[in-house]
Assembly symmetry: D2
Homo-oligomer: 101 residues x 4
């Protein structure tokens, strides 16, 4: 399945990149395939491994902050792997051109 | 923490209430405090128990459908319990009137 | 259509109820049918009136804060009105009991 | 502001790329800066131009389908432009390496 998630603390100022970086180090070390975008990170994997990673990221931010927002959007399609690349490729073929990623 | 979630199959027609009902039976049996609304269900609990319930609901819909959409929004505030009631009460006090739930 | 939305400032502390109350006064005055829940507000109406209301709420919070998060989830079903009540009723019939709202 | 959005029909089968392509043609023609990812598209612009584009995409899918799901996530930070690039750059600097986009 694919899961996009976004985790940030509320009440720790307006600059959040140091918290996002904390998450991204954990994601990068996880070994799961991922892609970052300006609003979140998309990972691909099975439910348990994806959710274990999201919990790890959430707890790494929660440990020294008082309130944490976490949003997760899952697209789970049977028998599909490599969706991280395939979904974009399939749309680009239909649009008939390369699109900005 | 509070978690609102919405789970439905894609490609099984436009009427989704039978799938939502399947989720809600599991939520109701879970023992966790919850509130339903027209766009999702909000549950209150610790990370592991909430996520175990969401997985159960997701898998119950996935077992006989091909593609499932699941969105989760978490608000995790340290040292707060009973947030399911408290958040609405606190806002109603500031607005100065009872609001439609 | 139904639209659930959640708007809050980032970096203005952990207590957000005064900002949520600001939104809810505008929603209550709008004349649109709505229901609040612990994670957001669901309104029913046509695209333009719903989006005008969400913009008003967003701007009311943005005017004296530096960074605002706004999430919107829309369910737009042709020929359906009164969905605010109907969706819950339809699920409760299938579950066979009244559920906590 | 940055807005990530995802629009798809419910009940039109499991393959959605032809609908996503319809949206992406409109986004590409809009002239707004954007980035696609496997779970949605992030655009940058002022409230009115971004929302006009999202409405256009939503209505293009709604015209020949019965039910449409649309989710929008907005990050609106005062005085910041070029956030589409800056947010990722700022995180990569803190992580200390290039990340997969």
């Amino acid at each position: 399945m694919l899961a996009e998630f976004t985790i940030f603390p509320i009440g720790e100022g307006v600059s959040l990149s140091k918290y996002v970086a904390r998450s991204l180090k954990l994601i990068d070390e996880s070994g799961l395939a991922y892609r970052i975008n300006p609003m979140g990170t998309v990972v691909e994997g099975e439910w348990d491994e994806v959710m274990a990673l999201i919990k790890k990221c959430h707890m790494a931010i929660r440990e020294d902050t008082e309130r944490v927002s976490c949003t997760i959007k899952i697209d789970d399609r049977k028998g599909v792997s490599g969706a991280l690349q395939k979904k974009i490729k399939s749309v680009e073929e239909k649009v008939g051109k390369k699109l900005a990623q």
